[in-house]
């Protein structure tokens, strides 16, 4: 047994770890007597990738490319390949992944199972929107190949399906053309939510990528808005990526009452001072935290929660304001707070998170009951607004909120693999 934790580091749990490394042998390897769940880089924050006292099938050994057509941009690879490794190879031929989240240190299988989204959701949708087909191995040894046009029901259940429909072993993805690894970006400061929504709405048609950092400690909701477009500028040097690592877990969370307010004020003003247009490398713009290895350690030994919700646009303004008010009243706060509007499009997966509206993602140091009480207040705002919480981040949402937020649940359950179970599935579905 091996102690494994997810990215939030809320707890370390004993698991039997089985490394999958031969795609021809997965069907045999997952025929275990005990229930298991596929586990890639363990970058999801909550318990979607955990199965305490059970088996995890670690997919990082399934890290081979199968084919890549540099003329059409069609890539087939094993599910344990990292998004970073795909992009570092395909960029040389003028292709990148159409959708990536804020880290590229995740596996393709995890990106499908959580149907991850990025800064360009309004134009490109979710990761699953670009998957042409995938291979799923069930615990009874059967193999299901599915895509948007063949066995589309299996595909819709598996994209965003939290790994519960089988083990994804191969994925076919349509990449997108880029002329250079560069983005032309602009950074703007906003002083309140009105300004944020104005910037978000007016940027959607002309900017492919939009995202914002919000200062949830200051009243009113000031923040920094970032937007970017691919550019063919070619006269720049590739940045040398330098990795820093947080070498140990500090005894206390570095994000606390004393540090948060000065952190946020300093960050806001530094960024405000440096607003304007520039050219960024895609890795620096999309994955600013990837060079700070093990940054999750800064929340100390008790770890942290991430709370990411989405609410419909019609009530978005009020819901955001209400949530920010609750947070600032609670005295808790978040440094890595991200506010973004989603495009007006439905995701392919039955259990995919993105829906038309506005999403807010917040990190909170784990202070036990105090933090959970705040979440209950935020839950009631999300519930009332008709929103939902992102399963890839969640470690604590109540079952009724899950069921209200994911109306396709009953349909999804028909496709579950009976020998696959995770801490999240037991908590929210009961088995």
């Amino acid at each position: 047994m091996v102690a494994v934790s997810s990215w939030g580091r809320i707890g370390r749990f004993e698991h039997e770890v089985i490394l999958l490394s031969d795609r021809g042998n997965v069907a045999t390897q997952i025929k275990s007597q005990r229930l298991g769940i596929a586990h890639g880089m363990g970058r999801s924050y909550g318990d979607v990738c955990l199965n305490p006292n059970g088996v995890i099938w670690k997919t990082t050994g399934l890290d081979r490319f199968i084919s890549f057509d540099k003329n059409t941009g069609l890539l087939v690879c094993e599910a344990g390949v990292l998004l970073r490794d795909i992009q570092r190879i395909t960029i040389q031929h003028g292709w990148l992944l159409p959708v990536t989240p804020g880290t590229q240190l995740i596996t393709v299988g995890g990106a499908v199972a959580n149907d991850v989204h990025g800064k360009n959701h309004h134009g490109f949708g979710c990761f699953g929107d670009h998957v042409q087909s995938l291979k799923l191995i069930r615990s009874d040894g059967s193999i299901i190949e599915c895509g948007p046009d063949f066995l589309p029901d299996w595909f819709a259940a598996t994209v965003g399906g939290m790994g519960l429909t089988g083990v994804i072993t191969e994925v076919e993805i349509q990449l997108r053309r880029v002329t250079a690894p560069w983005l032309s970006t602009e950074t703007l400061a906003y002083d309140n939510l009105d300004e944020f929504f104005y910037l978000a709405d007016t940027s959607e048609s002309d900017w492919e990528h939009t995202v914002s950092w919000i200062d949830c400690v200051a009243k009113g909701g000031r923040g920094i808005f970032m937007r970017g477009n691919p550019t063919d500028s070619n006269e720049l040097y590739e940045p040398k990526s330098k990795n820093f690592s947080i070498p140990f877990v500090p005894p206390l969370s570095l994000i606390n009452k004393l540090t948060l307010s000065p952190f946020n004020t300093a960050y806001f003003n530094l960024k405000k001072y440096r607003t304007g247009k520039r050219i960024n490398h895609y890795e620096a713009f999309f994955y600013p935290l990837d060079n700070l290895l093990e940054w999750n350690r800064m929340y100390g030994p008790r770890g942290f929660y991430q709370y990411q919700s989405v609410v419909p646009r019609a009530v978005g303004y009020d819901a955001m304001q209400a949530m920010l008010k609750e947070i600032s009243q609670s005295g808790e706060g978040s440094f890595l707070a991200v506010l973004k509007t989603f495009g007006n499009r439905e995701a392919r997966g039955m259990m995919s998170f993105p829906q038309p509206g506005v999403t807010l993602a917040l990190d909170f140091s784990n202070k036990g009951g105090k933090t959970l009480t705040l979440f209950k207040r935020l839950d009631s705002i999300v519930r009332e607004a008709g929103g939902r919480i992102y399963l890839a981040k969640d470690a604590r949402m109540p079952r009724d909120l899950f069921e209200a937020g994911y109306p396709c649940l009953a349909e999804f359950l028909k496709y579950r693999d009976p020998r696959i179970s995770s801490a999240l599935s037991r908590r929210l579905i009961g088995y």
């Binding site: 091996v2 089985i18 031969d22 021809g24 670690k58 081979r64 490319f65 190879i89």
Partner: protein
């Protein structure tokens, strides 16, 4: 046009360490890789991956028997018939279950064959032609386990000890030639071979080990510990007096 690519032969190409070495080698376009494996499909999967990583490299796959001496000789003959070999990496192995070995002699036999005799036969088959060509680097993966027998894995350790002693002899034989012989001793590495081990935290990432090996082969160091800290750890373990060593539960 003459083939100016550097020819690299990898025996046991589906081993995780070998596969990651190959990924580093294909970053350079001027290589030709010959992948030798027991399982044709698995070896082909590795080759396909490498071709995507760099479409300009030349990669071929050979399925081989790793036990039969005659088959090994024929396999190596067919490779060297295709041209001068610049680098050979002999990487195969499998970690036996020590407890099982203590109950079943056939498990001992298999472990000694795969981890000890087979790598030596491959190396010996290449050594002669490399000596004649007076060119090339012959690298063999041993293990820190071969440095001193321990109760927890001495069957594996003795096979790797055989590889160590063999390599010493070969280094002595080829000392006056241009052929370099490199012995690589990885510590516990995160690979499918070790995935059942309990001490997951202490395992070195396979990418790190591969990088040390490829750099070590380039500089043709006679002995490479990967990661380097194992040189120090094993020096201590080798020199522990028996009355202390026998009290250790390792």
């Amino acid at each position: 046009m003459q083939n100016t690519k550097k020819r690299i032969v990898i025996i046991g190409a589906t081993s995780a360490i070998a596969e990651h070495c190959a990924r580093l080698w294909v970053k350079d376009t001027h290589v030709e890789l010959i992948l030798v494996g027991r399982n044709a499909q698995k070896t082909e999967n590795v080759a396909t991956d490498l071709r995507v990583r760099n479409p300009q490299t030349l990669i071929s796959v050979i399925k081989a028997d790793f036990i039969n001496a005659l088959a090994i000789q024929q396999c190596v003959d067919s490779i060297v018939a295709g041209g001068v070999v610049d680098t050979v990496l002999i990487a195969h192995g499998s970690l036996p279950d020590q407890t099982l070995c203590e109950q079943d002699l056939s498990a001992v036999n298999e472990a000694l064959q795969v981890n000890g005799i087979s790598p030596v036969l491959f190396a010996e088959a290449f050594a002669g032609t490399m000596q004649k060509a007076n060119l090339g680097t012959l690298a063999i993966i041993g293990s820190v386990a071969g440095d001193r027998g321990r109760k927890s894995n001495y069957i594996y350790g003795s096979a790797k000890g055989l590889v160590t002693r063999y390599t010493q002899g070969l280094q002595h034989r080829l000392a006056n030639t241009a052929v370099k012989v490199v012995l690589i001793k990885p510590g516990p590495t995160e690979t499918p071979m070790t995935s059942h081990l309990k001490q997951q935290g202490g395992l070195a990432p396979v990418e790190v080990v591969a990088k040390i090996i490829v750099e070590g082969i380039n500089t043709a160091k006679p002995v490479i510990y990967a990661p380097a800290k194992w040189a120090l750890i094993m020096m201590v373990i080798r020199h522990l007096p028996r009355f202390v060593f026998n009290k250790l539960n390792i």
